[in-house]
């Protein structure tokens, strides 16, 4: 009988992710320790920025899951992010005073985008739409939602105490009502408030990112992950093996929307702000760039590239609009040197070096051992 910790590691490792060696996990834990202690040696502004980068990484992971693993490119991933953000804000503004927490708002921020994804996914995948049609349809959905939200400045566009606010962004309907709340978890008096500018919020987001990352690593290396990959490689062939690929695509699309919605919720709480510009072309393309440059077929690569490119964008933002241009050039460069992503390519190189030292054999053995 194997010890339980090695079974957990075995379930997190597999051919669908890079970094299955002890070396990788030790390195990952070191990075995590550095990240946990970050607020003790960084400035307040840097911590706030780091929270934002972690939220972006969540959004990137959501696209990585459907695009990198299931071959569904969506150019409208930011729409789930924003719908989640708006849903959190609307429910939060309405309930923060009476309930004293944002538990329901948080759930709304996840459920609303999942419902949207379920409807869209049903329309697309059960009609066997694929490839570029899905990508463009999702972009159009995002743009239409943005278009709608832009013209909601009129006070009649209010849901309870929350005014959608058009180009002013989501806000309370009257001055007496509360604004978009902080994440407030717990019941009654026993609540924890996570101010978006605090180290506590940073740790919360970091913990969620780690959990989502580990959860996805387990998922993509499970049987479900195999079927995702098979759909990515050849969905029609996969169907002829008896898998209902429509259901596979719909389910992964909804899961991805849940993660994107969670990210959007955290973003809205982070800045207590959500705005229709989030639905426009630039944010949607930005996610694609983060994922493509890092390596869409590997979760860890996507986090690395999102943090690196997000940080670069912020550094470049002081020079005006140049940042998207630079990121576009980086994307072109990345596609030329490493079609499956720069970080993944580097990771594979490091993996080969590590494998030369013998730990590769364990991985193969672990895989052949017939994990689930």
């Amino acid at each position: 009988m194997e010890p339980p910790q090695s079974r957990i590691i075995a379930a997190l490792n597999g051919p669908q992710t890079l970094g299955n060696s002890a070396f990788f996990w030790i390195f990952a834990i070191l990075v995590l320790i550095v990240a946990i202690f970050f607020p003790f040696y960084a400035s307040r502004f840097q911590v706030i920025t780091a929270s934002n980068l972690a939220i972006s990484s969540l959004l990137a992971l959501s696209l990585c899951l459907i695009w990198g693993y299931c071959g569904i490119l969506s150019l409208g991933q930011a729409s789930f992010y924003c719908v989640g953000g708006y849903a959190f804000g609307v429910v939060g503004i309405n309930l923060i005073e009476s309930a004293g927490n944002t538990n329901l708002a948080l759930i709304a921020g996840i459920v609303a985008p999942v419902l949207l994804a379920a409807v869209l996914g049903w329309l697309m995948f059960y009609r066997r739409l694929k490839g570029v049609y899905v990508a463009i349809l999702m972009l159009i959905v995002s743009l239409l939602l943005g278009l709608f939200m832009r013209q909601t400045a009129d006070p009649s566009y209010a849901i309870g105490k929350a005014a959608l606010g058009g180009m002013n962004g989501l806000r309370p309907e009257s001055a007496g009502d509360p604004g978009i709340p902080n994440i407030t978890l717990g019941f009654g008096e026993a609540v924890a408030v996570f101010d978006g500018r605090s180290a506590g919020f940073y740790w919360l987001v970091l913990a969620i990112l780690v959990l989502v990352f580990l959860g996805l690593r387990w998922l993509v290396n499970s049987t479900y992950g195999y079927i995702l990959i098979a759909c990515r490689e050849d969905s029609e062939r996969t169907e002829t093996f008896g898998y209902d690929i429509r259901l596979v695509q719909l389910s992964v699309f909804c899961l991805s929307a849940a993660i994107a919605g969670l990210a959007g919720t955290l973003y809205t709480a982070w800045g207590t702000y959500i705005h229709p510009d989030g639905f426009s072309v630039a944010p949607n393309i930005l996610v694609v760039i983060w994922v493509a440059v890092g390596g869409r077929k590997d979760l860890a690569s996507v986090i690395v590239s999102t943090v690196a490119l997000g940080w670069l964008s912020l550094e470049l933002s002081r020079y005006g609009e140049v940042s998207l241009l630079v990121l576009g050039l980086i994307l072109i460069f990345a596609m030329m040197v490493a079609r499956d992503g720069i970080v993944s390519a580097l990771g594979e190189q490091i993996g080969r070096l590590v494998a030369a030292r013998g730990s590769r054999r364990e991985i193969v053995a672990c895989f052949k051992g017939g994990r689930r």
């Binding site: 051919p15 049987t223 195999y226 079927i227 990959i229 098979a230 490689e233 050849d234 029609e236 062939r237 996969t238 169907e239 002829t240 093996f241 008896g242 898998y243 209902d244 690929i245 193969v364 895989f367 052949k368 051992g369 017939g370 994990r371 689930r372």
Partner: protein
């Protein structure tokens, strides 16, 4: 009625029919790929389908597997009308296909390629044993961890066959299983087909290679312009003057 005697099935005799294709038509725009095709396959037989290029053979398979729908007509499998069923539903009823272009998963290993068809019916702990068993059956032992795109064409052809028999289907459709194979490899492919057939699988094979069809000793249907042109034992077909004409293009 015993399957072995069914090579001599004559019209009007009620046989144990596993697949009954009734008057199937498929239009692609103005082109009629299938034009009222009717054909029966008897349980446990090997059945060859041949015909010149463009006769509708591959379209026929797509209709059978359900990756495309006929414009009109119906397909009955094991006494059940499956015309409206999705491909995955037909697969679950026991149909399986190897497409003409192999459609293996090139970027995955052999083990992973077989994992996908096996996992639907097997528990994860049985899979490694089943994989080595199937690989032995298709004469590819020990290649579990090779990337599929690094295999030779012949090996990929056998892997594709292995993937389609992995789920132990009742009706196996093989579209050109010897395309691009050497004479020796073709012979081994015929052995593999006889082996899975002897386990009880009904096999329908699309082929061009006459020597190969002869070695299968199978009942043969000839398609021409999307219709059933002739049917009989291979020797009867080979001796048929009209079949020769459509193949050689002489009038």
């Amino acid at each position: 009625m015993q399957a072995s005697t069914l090579e001599r099935v004559v019209p009007g005799v009620v046989a144990d029919v596993i697949l009954d294709v009734r008057n199937v038509t498929k239009h692609y725009g103005g082109i009629r790929a299938l034009d009222g095709l009717s054909l029966q396959v008897v349980r446990s037989e090997i059945h060859c389908v041949l015909g010149p290029n463009g006769a509708g053979k591959s379209t026929f398979f797509k209709m059978l597997m359900g990756t495309e729908r006929p414009t009109s007509g119906s397909i009955h499998y094991d006494g059940r009308d499956v015309t409206r069923l999705q491909a995955f539903e037909r697969a679950r009823l026991g149909l399986s296909v190897k497409f003409q272009n192999l459609r293996t998963f090139g970027d995955l290993t052999v083990f992973q390629n077989l994992f996908i068809p096996l996992r639907r019916t097997c528990g994860p702990s049985e899979i490694p044993d089943r994989v080595s068993e199937i690989l032995r059956q298709v004469r590819l032992p020990g290649v579990e961890n090779r990337l599929v795109r690094h295999l030779s064409h012949g090996q990929q052809q056998w892997l594709a066959i292995a993937m389609s028999v992995a789920s132990r289907p009742r009706l196996l459709l093989l579209d050109e299983p010897t395309a691009g194979l050497s004479a020796e490899e073709t012979e081994r492919t015929a052995e593999i087909i006889h082996e899975v057939n002897s386990e009880g699988m009904t096999v329908v094979v699309i082929e061009h290679d006459m020597g190969f069809i002869r070695s299968l000793k199978a009942r043969t249907s000839v398609l021409h312009y999307g219709r059933l042109f002739a049917q009989g034992s291979f020797d009867e077909i080979a001796a048929n003057e009209h079949v020769r004409q459509i193949y050689l293009g002489t009038e």
